[in-house]
C-alpha cells in the first residue's frame, strides 16, 4: 500500500525545490511538480518502488529538462538562436543578484543542450545533491558510470558556459 499523503509530505518540498531551481518559474515549476507525482503514481502501479526520494527527484529532473528543451526549441523558432541570457529574471535586484540570475539561466540553457542522461546525472548530483550511489541505483548505473557521465557533462558545460553569452546555446 502506498501512502501518497506521507510521500508528498516527505518529498514534496524537495521536488518543488528541484523544479523551481531548474525552471526558475513558479507556473512551470508547479506543472512540473504535478507531472512528477502523477508519473510516480503511474509508475507505482507497474513496479515496486524502493526509493521514492530518488525516483521523484529523477522524474522531476526529467520533466524539467523536457520543459527546458521545449523552451529552447520555442526560443529558437521565435528568435533564430536561443539567447538564454536574455530570459528575464524574476528577481530583479542588485547587480550581483542579477548576475546570478543570468548565470542560472545560462546554466539552464546549457543543460538543455546536454545529452539527456548527462543532464539528468548532473542535476541529480549538483542540484538534488544525491550521492553517486543513489544516482546509480536510480538509473541502473555503476558509480563509475555515474562519474564518467558527470565528467562529460561538466566538460560540455564548461565549453558552453565559457563561451560568450548565447554562443554556447547555438546547438540547442
Amino acid at each position: 500500500m502506498t501512502d501518497w499523503e506521507r510521500i508528498v509530505g516527505r518529498h514534496g518540498a524537495a521536488v518543488w525545490q528541484t523544479a523551481y531551481r531548474l525552471l526558475g518559474n513558479r507556473e512551470e515549476a508547479a506543472d512540473c511538480y504535478g507531472q512528477t507525482f502523477l508519473a510516480a503514481i503511474e509508475l507505482s502501479r507497474r513496479q515496486k518502488v524502493r526509493n521514492y526520494g530518488g525516483l521523484l527527484r529523477w522524474l522531476c529532473t526529467c520533466r524539467a529538462m523536457d520543459r527546458l528543451r521545449q523552451r529552447g526549441r520555442q526560443a529558437g523558432r521565435e528568435e533564430g538562436l536561443a539567447d538564454w541570457s536574455n530570459v528575464a529574471s524574476t528577481n530583479p535586484g542588485p547587480v550581483e543578484e542579477a548576475q546570478a540570475a543570468e548565470l542560472s539561466e545560462r546554466l539552464r540553457g546549457a543543460l538543455a543542450g546536454l545529452p539527456s542522461r548527462e543532464a539528468e546525472v548532473f542535476c541529480m548530483r549538483y542540484l538534488s545533491e544525491l550521492s553517486y550511489r543513489d544516482i546509480g541505483r536510480q538509473l541502473g548505473l555503476k558509480t563509475s558510470a555515474v562519474g564518467m557521465l558527470l565528467h562529460r557533462a561538466r566538460g560540455r558545460l564548461r565549453e558552453m558556459l565559457g563561451q560568450p553569452d548565447g554562443a554556447g546555446d547555438a546547438e540547442i
Binding site: M1, T2, D3, W4, E5, I7, V8, G12, W16, Q17, A19, Y20, R21, L22, G24, R26, A29, A30, Y33, G34, F37, L38, I41, S44, R45, N91, E96, E97, Q99, A100, A101, L103, S104, R106, L107, R108, A110, Y126, L127, R154, L157, R158, E159, L161, G162
Partner: protein
C-alpha cells in the same frame, strides 16, 4: 557573483561551479500552489483506494478473514490495553490519561501490520465523540460506526454498496467496548513500566508500557508538551503483528452526521453482525470450519493470523483448499466474522491462562490428540479441546506433554 574573464582556462573551470552555486542559491518561493498538491493527493488517494480494493478483492475468502482479523485486533487490542490497569509509576502518563478524560473528541490513525507479506498493511482512521460515538474508516471503503447511546452499530461496505447492522443491547452493562471515549478515559493513571527517553520525529519523547489481557501497549509522550505522540501495540499471542497509533488530535469539531447509523441510500442490507461476547464455542466453530475446508481435513498450523495467512497461500498453491459449491458475499462475510471471533478468543487470552495450541498436523476426528488447552480464570483445572472437538477438564498433571 563576479565571473572574471581574465584567465579563460581558469574561468572555464570555475564557471560551472559558479553557475551551479547560482542556481542553488535561487530563492525558491513558497509552493507549490495548494490546488496542485490537492490534485496530486486526490490522484494518489484514488490510486490507493483502487489498489486496496483490488487487493482486497483478489484475496480469497480465507485471506479476507485473515485481513479482517487485524482490523478487529486493532480495536480489540485497544480495548484490552486501555481498560483499567494497575501498579507502576509515571506522572506524565497520568497526565495523558487526564487529557483523554477531558477531551471533547479524539481522532487518530491506526496502522496494522503483521510479519507476513501476505496480509497487507492497513491504515485506519478512528474518531470518538461523546457521549459514546465511534467511527473507523478502513481500507476497501469499509466504515464501522458505533453508537453507545443506542447500543447499536453499522458496518458500511462502500465498495459493495452494502451495510450490516450491529446490536449491542445484550452486552453486560459494565462492558466499556461501545462506550467509545469512556474506554480511553479509563486509561490507567499509572503505567506498568516507565521506559527511557528517545528522539522521535524531532521530538524528545518518553515511553510508558502497559500490559493488559495478553497485549502490550507502549505509549510515547512528548516530554516538553506532554502530548501523546504514538502508541505501539504488540500482540504476544501473534508475534510480529502490531498496530501503531499516531496523529492524535483532540477537540476537533466532528459533525454528528459522521456517526449516523442510517445507511446510505440504495445500499442493500447484509446479515446482522454477531456482537455477543466471544467464547470458547467461537474457537471450536472456527476449527471445525477450517478443517472441513481443506482436502486433508487438518486443523490450522497455527492460530497466529500471519502464519495462518502464509499457510493458506501455501495450501492454495498446492490445491488443497476446498471451495464451496455455492457461496455468496453474505456467507463469506459471516464466515469471516466467525473466523475472526474464533481467532480473537486465542488472541485475547491472558498470559496467565497458559494456553497452548497443538493442532498442527492433526486431523479433524482425532479424539486422542489434544489440540488446544488453557486455564480458565479463577480455575485450577484446564479446558482441553481434542481433535474431535470434544472438551475435557483436566488437572495440570494430566495435560498432554
Amino acid at each position: 557573483m563576479n565571473i572574471e574573464r581574465n584567465n579563460p582556462g581558469q574561468d572555464k573551470e570555475r564557471v560551472v561551479d559558479e553557475a551551479v552555486r547560482a542556481i542553488r542559491e535561487v530563492r525558491v518561493p513558497e509552493g507549490p500552489p495548494g490546488e496542485v498538491v490537492e490534485r496530486v493527493l486526490a490522484a494518489g488517494n484514488q490510486e490507493q483506494s483502487k489498489f486496496e480494493k483490488g487487493r482486497f478483492n483478489k484475496m480469497n475468502r480465507i485471506m479476507k478473514i485473515a485481513a479482517g482479523i487485524l482490523i478487529v485486533v486493532g480495536i480489540g487490542g485497544l480495548i484490552a490495553v486501555l481498560n483499567p490497569g494497575s501498579g507502576g509509576s509515571g506522572v506524565a502518563f497520568g497526565a495523558v490519561a487526564q487529557q483523554f478524560r477531558n477531551a471533547r473528541t479524539v481522532t487518530y490513525t491506526i496502522i496494522t501490520d503483521t510479519a507476513s507479506e501476505v496480509i497487507p498493511t492497513m491504515r485506519m482512521e478512528v474518531s470518538y465523540k461523546p457521549p459514546a460515538y465511534f467511527r473507523m474508516t478502513a481500507p476497501g471503503g469499509v466504515v464501522s460506526i458505533m453508537d453507545g447511546t443506542q447500543k447499536k452499530g453499522i458496518l458500511i461496505i462502500h465498495s459493495e454498496k452494502q451495510f450490516r447492522e450491529m446490536d449491542f443491547s445484550d452486552l453486560p452493562q459494565d462492558k466499556p467496548e461501545i462506550d467509545s471515549l469512556e474506554m480511553w478515559r479509563t486509561l490507567p493513571d499509572r503505567a506498568d513500566e516507565v521506559l527511557g527517553e528517545k528522539e522521535m520525529d524531532g521530538r524528545k519523547v518518553q515511553g510508558f508500557r502497559v500490559s493488559e489481557n495478553g497485549m502490550i501497549g507502549t505509549f510515547w509522550i512528548d516530554t516538553k508538551t506532554g502530548d501523546l505522540t504514538r502508541v505501539e501495540m504488540e500482540f504476544p499471542n501473534a508475534p510480529g503483528s502490531h498496530a501503531v497509533m499516531t496523529d492524535f488530535r483532540f477537540d476537533l469539531e466532528l459533525e454528528d452526521s459522521l456517526f449516523s447509523l442510517t445507511p446510505p441510500e440504495g445500499y442493500t442490507q447484509g446479515s446482522q453482525i454477531d456482537t455477543s461476547p466471544i467464547s470458547q464455542d467461537d474457537l471450536i466453530k472456527f476449527l471445525r470450519w477450517w478443517s472441513t475446508h481443506n482436502r486433508d481435513g487438518l486443523f490450522p498450523p497455527s492460530l497466529d493470523p500471519a502464519k495462518m495467512a502464509e499457510a493458506v497461500m501455501e495450501m492454495n498453491r498446492a490445491g488443497k483448499l476446498l471451495k464451496d459449491q455455492e457461496t455468496s458475499k453474505d456467507k463469506t462475510q459471516s464466515e469471516a466474522m466467525q473466523a475472526t471471533r474464533g481467532l480473537m478468543f486465542a488472541m485475547q487470552m491472558k498470559l496467565e491462562s497458559d494456553w497452548h495450541y497443538a493442532g498442527k498436523g492433526v486431523k479433524l476426528g482425532d479424539a486422542d490428540t489434544a489440540i488446544f488447552w488453557y486455564k480458565q480464570e479463577g480455575s485450577q483445572t484446564y479446558q482441553v479441546i481434542y481433535g474431535d472437538l470434544s472438551i475435557k477438564e483436566l488437572a495440570e498433571g494430566d495435560l498432554p506433554r
